[in-house]
């Protein structure tokens, strides 16, 4: 399970870096969105292998459950990520409006 998570994180990170380095603001937007997810899943992987563990609800029966703390952190990070992505979309839209192009070269040579 951990191996799969690591692979997913790796693929997400490399895809997002590829997208961020593109010359168009639309792939850049998706790149940052993916980068956010990559970091979030990395944080999820920190809570360890979840196989055979319950959700973190304490029942006094002594069942083993996954570490809840990384998930709490993750929730906070997701919310912050939402806010920043919303801001990024508006910013890119305003850049598009003022330069009527989505190409980075056109925008910065304008």
């Amino acid at each position: 399970m951990t191996t799969i998570t690591i692979l997913i994180v790796g693929v997400l990170f490399s895809t997002s870096v590829y997208l961020i380095l593109q010359r168009n603001i639309i792939p850049i937007l998706f790149g940052f969105s993916l980068l956010n997810h990559a970091a979030n899943i990395f944080l999820l992987a920190v809570s360890g292998d979840p196989t055979g563990k319950k959700a973190p609800i304490v029942t006094l029966l002594g069942e083993s459950y996954v570490d809840p703390l990384p998930q709490a952190l993750l929730l906070t990070a997701i919310v912050i990520g939402f806010g920043v992505t919303a801001y990024l979309i508006v910013l890119l839209y305003r850049i598009y409006l003022s330069h009527s192009s989505t190409n980075i070269e056109d925008i910065y040579n304008d």
Partner: protein, 511 residues
């Protein structure tokens, strides 16, 4: 009184929210925000005085026991930084009032300044790695908004590099937090400090610590990571540029001091040497770039980068004396660079340009602006007995004691070139006669602007001429950072309120 730690964060958040609703700019709104800052400065002075006797103040949020709950803690360094942050913000706020009439004021400007200050203060008071992340995000999201708030439509593009680099920084910050949690099972600074002692040679910790240098170096403007800064800062209105330049970079430096001195083991050599190696090009290339700039703000931005290098030297050497030197230098630099940005705004207002080629005549027509600039320029360079001299002398002393001769050479070269870059501004705008420049000295706005810049100049003069108590303050801050056992004991043995009530509840369940 310990509960007061939360005030520098909560009050700005509260007032910011109120001002979001109380939208229309008015004289009362301006008074309310300025008085809040004055009250907060009084609170932070009390807190600073308190930390001198108690070393570290601790506030467990919600009463949870040490490594489990969120922790606010404030030591002398944190209290110094909170006071400075509030002081600089107040000066910039009042300066903004003088610069803009009430009709021109953007209704979102003051609330956003409050949110920014809340984020900055939270990162100075937090005792927890994840809370630090949240503080950084509050600070960054406010700074993104401030950056694009009053920007010209064409310049919106300059916000994208700033946003991009900080988004990457935030993603890495989250990953570094994950690595720390995986290694130590805790995110509390004191807890990590206790657990990390045996990990000095662990490659995972070395990688995580280098990631931290990268993340906070990005914010502070270390050598290869500063290219975003001179592009994004000049598009800001002057008072906001002063807050950004004076405070945001210092938050990066503060966190590096906090983490490498109080949290991670000192025997971890890789990041310290990395910081020392990066310090040389930061100082030299930063100041050489300053010499090639054509606007005052460009020169100041690269001076800012170059002087971050001086603080890096103190951090990299990592003795009690060198950290004290960095702290003192930081105190001086926050005030000097912020006031220089404010003075630049006055110069821009009266001569209508900030291009070095087209300025002139100010010394004849408005000598007091010239005096303000000259004092700060010489303080930045480090001419005795101004504040920069003591900071540089302390950093040089630590570098000589450690026999780091390359660093000693770079510091001296960078200081001399700083003087040269300041002389260029002085000559271009103040000293020479330029018949093609006409100064606009009408109105009283620029006089009030100079007055609030003068308040900061006065602070640096006090630090320079009465340096002894401030140097001792920096030394005390540094020595309490190095006194790790005290911090660990105090945090981890703090009163245990919540777990008792949980126990009694679970007992009740059994019956």
């Amino acid at each position: 009184m310990t509960n007061w730690i939360v005030l520098p964060t909560i009050l700005p958040l509260l007032l910011g929210s109120i001002l979001l609703v109380w939208r229309t700019p008015s004289v009362q709104r301006r008074w309310a925000s300025a008085l809040t800052f004055i009250g907060l400065i009084a609170v932070s002075k009390c807190l600073l005085w308190k930390t001198l006797s108690e070393k570290i103040l601790i506030l467990p949020m919600g009463g949870w026991k040490a490594p489990f709950g969120i922790f606010l803690s404030l030591d002398t360094l944190g209290a110094i930084m909170v006071t400075l942050a509030l002081g600089v913000s107040l000066a910039a706020l009042v300066y903004g009032f003088a610069q803009q009439s009430i009709e021109d004021e953007h209704p979102m400007r003051i609330p956003l300044i409050f949110f920014l200050v809340a984020g900055i203060n939270l990162s100075f008071t937090t005792g927890d790695f994840f809370n630090l992340f949240v503080a950084f995000e509050i600070m960054l999201i406010s700074s993104y908004s401030i950056l694009t708030l009053e920007i010209k439509e064409k310049d919106v593009r300059h916000a994208l590099p700033y946003l991009a680099i900080n988004l990457i920084g935030s993603a890495l910050f989250l990953c570094a937090g994950g690595i720390f949690y995986a290694l130590f099972g805790s995110l509390n600074f004191a807890d990590i400090a206790q657990l990390s002692a045996g990990y000095a040679n662990d490659p995972r910790l070395i990688v995580a610590s280098l990631m931290l240098v990268l993340i906070f170096g990005l914010k502070a403007g270390f050598f290869p990571l500063y290219y975003w800064m001179p592009n994004s800062y000049p598009s800001l209105p002057t008072p906001l540029a002063a807050i950004f330049a004076g405070l945001l970079t210092k938050v990066g430096i503060y966190v590096i001091i906090r983490i490498f001195v109080t949290v991670l083991p000192h025997t971890l050599l890789a990041p310290h040497q990395f910081i020392l190696i990066l310090a040389v090009p930061t100082m030299i290339i930063g100041i050489l770039s300053a010499l090639t700039q054509r606007t005052i703000r460009g020169v100041l931005c690269f001076n800012l980068v170059s002087h971050i290098g001086f603080m890096m030297v103190g951090i990299g050497i990592l003795t009690e004396q060198s950290i004290a030197a960095s702290i003192f230098y930081m105190m001086h630099h926050v005030l000097v660079i912020a006031s220089l940005f404010l003075i630049t705004g006055v110069v821009y207002r009266i001569s209508g340009t900030d291009e070095l080629e087209s300025g002139g005549n100010i010394w004849k027509k408005a000598p007091w602006v010239g005096v303000l600039f000259l004092v700060q320029a010489l303080a930045l360079t480090g001419i005795p007995p101004l504040s920069g001299f003591w900071g540089k002398a302390m950093i040089l002393q630590s570098a000589i004691e450690g026999s780091h001769w390359i660093l000693v050479g770079s510091i001296v070269i960078a200081s001399v070139l700083t003087l040269l870059s300041m002389i260029r501004i002085w000559f271009a705008f103040f000293w020479r006669d330029n018949p093609s420049t006409t100064l606009n000295l009408e109105g009283t706005g620029w006089k009030w602007m100079s007055l609030s810049a003068f308040a900061l100049v006065l602070c640096t003069l006090v630090i320079g001429f009465a340096a002894n108590p401030y140097i001792r303050l920096a030394q005390q801050a540094s020595s309490s950072l190095f006194d790790r056992d005290l911090t660990i004991n105090k945090v981890l043995s703090s009163p245990d309120i919540k777990s008792q009530s949980v126990h009694s509840e679970s007992n009740g369940g059994h019956h």
